[in-house]
Amino acid sequence: MSLLEIDNLSVRYGPADAPPVVDGLDLRLEAGEVLAIVGESGSGKSQAMLALLGLIDPPGRVAADRLQFAGHDLLALGERQRRRLLGKELAMVFQDPLAALDPSYRVGFQLEEVLRQHLGLRGREARRRALELLEQVEIPAAASRLDAYPHQLSGGMAQRVAIALAIAAEPLLLIADEPTTALDVTIQAQILELLLNLQRERGMALLLISHDLAVVAECASRVCVMYAGQAVEVGALPGLFDAPAHPYTEALLAALPEAGTARRPLRGLPGSVPGRHDRPVGCLLAPRCAYVQDDCRARRPPLEAKRQSQARCYHPRNQESP
């Protein structure tokens, strides 16, 4: 049994006929694995993860055939049981670290709060563990940072604190939602390295949400590409990036500036993601796809096995053997 099993997850807002922001997502994640979810903003990556944690509030609606994590059925879980799971076995790091820390409390207080909640640590013991955690996320002068307020930290430092908060109770799965997007370029690599180190040392699974394909190629063993709420291609790396089957994945990769090919003009995808009023009946990419044919417009393609991956496409790319 996998650590995480998601079958047919969808998230909707607004009227019943509005298109879902997450549309029939299937996902498997093994213990200790690094999986990346990529896609542009609005593709439903974050919403899917929030739904997994049970953090979608009305008017948002979540439906799924199956949401299984470490032997728990997340759909059947009571509010109290869910809280016992969140932050303990299933933790999340958010995009903007400074917004994700409560501005009114010192770093130490927030760490001790989680340690008391999930591990029952109190007083000096909690303090000591909090300090250890700050050291584990490689914060210099950790002892003095315990008494700092979030606004006194730099972005990178704040993200380290947020990571410390997330790993405090040694979770089985850490979801990192664009953990480096809000940071300076020089800091991004350090934070990613820290996440991967922690993942390796603790053997926890890491679900990395990103739109940076270069980062994904380096870190992840598998990748799920999302477009307009759907997983359009899922597969192992590096195979998937070597031979992307879905034209969208191919376009994403083509938009990537590569070292040594500076003269090649970057290619973008014409048009924009379909919105509420222009969602196609067929393949969601059809209006923007260079290889579109009549069957693409008529029916939506299912997720099917291709040469290196599973993809939602009737006319996959890169299928010939090298």
């Binding site: 016992r84 799971l85 958010f94 994700a100 501005p103 009114s104 709060e113 989680v114 909640q117 606004h151």
Partner: protein, 336 residues
């Protein structure tokens, strides 16, 4: 923190000087002969008039008069009441605790109920409870409190006979004024039942005076809570599995408190406005009633320096609220 304090203090001084200018000008703007205004007597004989003119310094140029007024203030001389011949300061000092007691009771009521109602309304957003609470809050905010007092008196005092109509304590009781706060003094005294009587006297005026602050705090708390509840750190705290009670009371309310405190501070001025009306209605022997009576009796030294004292009080309280604001919000405290 120290430089924060110093900067705030530096802003107080020009404001206070401005207020002295205002109260100084006030007396001189009153139509009529200034000696008669200050002495409170009409048709003094010319010799007495000239003497008084000289004694009060009214024959000197205006800027000298202002400077000597400031000099008097600096020495703590606030003049004498025309009616009682007592010093304005001692009258103020003896009446002030009554106003503080009333205002404190009103604010306590408003703070506790307002925070509670606002928080509940925000948590149950869009529910009947939310609409009902906010409807009541808007009604309270629109309340002519002098009328509200009459209605409450009509119902609780006249109809039901539950509460007394005026004053701070029944004449039956003889309580030594130690602190000036009746609730404390009655507790200190040996008199049986005096404390409960003082409480019964306090409750209606406190409700009347607390109504508008309560409404303002409830509305403000609700909107601040709604804003905070959408913040990332609340979602992040939920993702850490914290209990709803901790989320609301430790994380959300603490952050919502910052804007609410500011509003709380701004309420001090309108609270004193309300105190003027409430004290007049309930014959509550405080500074509001004192000033209105002084105006009615044309007791101008009391009017002049009573207003000055109240302004000083408002300035001081706003200063304290500013500091509290800094304490509640580390981001402001540390800003250099």
């Amino acid at each position: 923190m120290l430089s924060f304090l110093a900067r705030r203090l530096g802003l107080l001084i020009p404001t206070f000087l401005g207020v002295t200018l205002l109260t100084f000008a006030l007396i001189r703007l009153i139509p009529g002969d200034p000696v008669e205004v200050m002495m409170g007597e009409r048709r003094l004989d010319p010799q007495m008039h000239a003497e008084a003119m000289q004694r009060l310094g009214l024959d000197r140029p205006l800027h000298e008069q202002y400077l000597s007024y400031l000099g008097q203030l600096a020495q703590g001389d606030l003049g004498q009441s025309l009616r009682t011949r007592e010093s304005v300061w001692s009258e103020f000092a003896s009446l002030f605790p009554a106003t503080v007691e009333l205002a404190f009771a009103a604010l306590l009521l408003a703070g506790v109920l307002g925070l509670l109602a606002g928080t509940l309304a925000a948590l149950k957003r869009g529910s009947l409870l939310d609409h009902g609470t906010m409807g009541l809050a808007l009604t309270g905010y629109s309340m002519p409190i002098f009328w509200w007092a009459l209605i409450l008196i009509m119902f609780f005092s006249v109809e039901l006979g539950w509460t007394p109509v005026s004053g701070r304590l029944d004449l039956l009781y003889d309580v030594e004024p130690v602190t000036g706060f009746m609730l404390i003094d009655t507790l200190l005294s040996e008199e049986q039942g005096a404390f409960l009587d003082a409480l019964r006297h306090l409750i209606l005026p406190a409700i009347v005076l607390g109504t508008i602050p309560l409404a303002v705090i409830a509305r403000m708390t609700r909107s601040a809570m709604l804003e905070v509840l959408r913040e990332d750190y609340i979602r992040a705290a939920r993702a850490r599995g914290l209990s709803p009670a901790r989320l609301v009371f430790v994380h959300a309310l603490r952050n919502a408190l910052v804007p609410v405190l500011t509003v709380f501070g701004l309420q001090i001025g309108s609270l004193l406005s309300g105190a003027v009306l409430t004290e007049t209605l309930f014959s509550w022997p405080g500074i509001g009633k004192w000033l209105i009576e002084a105006i009615g009796a044309r007791d101008y030294p009391v009017v002049q320096n009573g207003i000055l004292l109240i302004a000083a009080l408002v300035i001081l309280v706003s200063f304290v609220v500013d500091i509290l604001y800094g304490l509640a919000n580390p981001r402001i405290r540390h800003r250099q």
